[in-house]
Point group: C2
DNA sequence: CGTGAAAAATACTCGCT
DNA sequence: AGCGAGTATTTTTCACG
């Protein structure tokens, strides 16, 4: 990870569909150089993939929330089972296994509040391992690209 | 948003660098058709952009956490000011303005636990509008593509 | 490692249905 | 809207510094 790699990562994070030619031009290197660097970054797993960023409202899911759950017993089997069950639900965008007040944090997106309530009551509360949960409706969200390494 | 649009969104969410040719092949339409559809989806804001998914550990930031904050007074001015200040910090990946027990939820990534502590003490606690906060260290995270619309 | 140039693949345009 | 053929760009390979 030298400066050239960091610059590539920064550019592709901002726009994953940059042509290799344009990327090379911005970096001030030959297209073949940029191409090879990007190939290596993918191979090393630094670049994990490329994803389109979709407007959730356009997919009829304008309501987002975090749902933090307490789960017991907190065994490997229960965690994996719970995680798999949740990720198969269409309402769930992402799930996080955590240490702290909450064992799981779910990021969900639904068409409306009624559907959120339904999810909490019918999907989450139903599960025996769920001791309790707490929801936070998201009003605004800001995601930032991770431009550079933090100094160590 | 007909089925063709949904399929395009699904494919580009999974791999934003699909060639238009391959996309068209998978959809069973002509390349020019796919190209025009994608153009319209971007124009309508359904596709907001394309981003490379980067391994945070490779950028020297293997430790992730959610930090949920209570902020007072919860006025527009304080919210906007707090939000702007946080988003300018390199540790912060994303920030969410919420309703619920927490007013703000921050997604942070740092090189190690020491740096997390430092962030909490020096950056967050320092601020007068912060009444309190609660951190959850993330052990595992799973992000899912949003494949289809939920039925209304 | 990086380069430049050639070959292969792809994007994009446009007249037509 | 969707299509297909033609043209312009781009990607990708590779022999060389």
């Amino acid at each position: 990870m030298d400066e050239l790699d960091s610059a590539i990562v920064a550019h592709l994070q901002a726009d994953a569909r940059l042509t290799n030619r344009e990327l090379a031009r911005r970096l001030g290197v030959a297209p073949s150089t940029a191409l090879e660097r990007v190939r290596l970054l993918r191979e090393r797993g630094v670049i994990r993939g490329y994803h389109a960023d979709i407007d959730l409202a356009a997919l009829n899911r304008p309501v987002e929330a975090f749902v933090a759950c307490r789960v017991r017993p907190l065994s490997r089997a229960v965690i994996d089972n719970f995680k798999a069950a949740l990720n198969s639900l269409p309402e769930v965008l992402a799930s996080y296994v955590c240490a702290g007040d909450d064992d799981f944090i779910l990021h969900v997106a639904v068409p409306d509040l009624e559907r959120l309530h339904e999810f909490l009551i019918d999907r989450l509360s139903e599960r025996r391992e769920v001791l309790g949960f707490r929801s936070s409706i998201i009003f605004e969200s800001t995601r930032k690209p991770v431009f550079a390494e933090l100094p160590s």
